[in-house]
Symmetry: C2
Subunit: 167 residues, 2 copies
């Protein structure tokens, strides 16, 4: 199954979705963030057909989210490790988990986020790095960036309801 490439849109979100791929790839990244490294780690955790898993891991490697590390052992051992690009998805994964807990887990969360040292519950919140203010609908807007095409810049200026409104 070949899906349309979203990477061609003039939109960082579409490009990100194009990179991260599909829900399976996202769940593989989630497990890598949780410490999975071996093929069998992912296989056990996801109950995914091994051919599907192999294809997704290759795809994630080619996209630079994961890197293959070979160990000179017998039998040979391969680890799949996250790159910086992959590791920087952690905050988004935490938010997705938090949203899923709130809106898609009527019986409560199967797993809870806690501080690794203290064990206290953690609630992810998105703020602006410079001011520390929470980013909420209505407080954020968009403007054309360095790579905006003339068409996009024009659209931001004239079609406010679609492109230029405060988020």
């Amino acid at each position: 199954m070949k899906r349309k490439s979203f990477g061609e849109f003039e939109c960082c979100i579409a490009r990100a979705l194009d990179e991260i791929g599909d829900p399976w790839s996202f769940l593989i990244l989630r497990h890598a963030l949780l410490g999975a490294r071996r093929f069998s780690d992912f296989e056990d955790a996801l109950e995914i057909p091994s051919s599907t898993l192999a294809r997704r891991l290759l795809d994630l490697t080619e996209r630079g989210l994961v890197t293959r590390r070979l160990f000179d052992e017998r039998p040979p051992r391969v680890d799949y490790e996250l790159t910086d690009k992959g590791r920087e998805l952690l905050p988004m994964v935490l938010l997705l988990a938090s949203w899923g807990e709130r809106w898609a887990s009527p019986l409560g969360a199967p797993l809870e986020l806690v501080d690794a040292k203290t064990g206290t519950r953690v609630e992810p919140m998105v703020v602006d790095r410079a001011t520390g203010r929470e980013l909420l609908p209505g407080t954020v807007a968009l403007r054309p960036g360095p790579s905006a095409s003339p068409e996009l810049s024009q659209a931001v200026l004239t079609r406010r309801p679609v492109f230029g409104a405060a988020l």
Copy 2:
């Protein structure tokens, strides 16, 4: 095309992915967060076949992310509005945009996030709501929550590399 339901996994992330659906649905939500309301708003912005768009909007409505509002006008007018469940995806969309700008936009961002009032650039960061500390790899861990099955709880305790490691 029917994809496997991720909602059955004991994982808030998988459930969230199941709710949000696929990349098209995510981009529809993105435009709704930016102020798109009419069918034609989404159609113009996404250049998506109208049958695909209609199906995704219906799906998002059934999942409670979007609600249809009918206006008693001639010709009749329908708006698609985000529910609280849909609106609460904003922080995640901002993070995805930020990641996409950093890792998937070599020529710079086509659109930049700014403060709606001041126009200053905004950089989303994820912190713990109670302490204000940034949530980074290694600072967060998981523990079984209220709806964890005995199998999952056991797995968290014994298979640390996959389930219980610090994120």
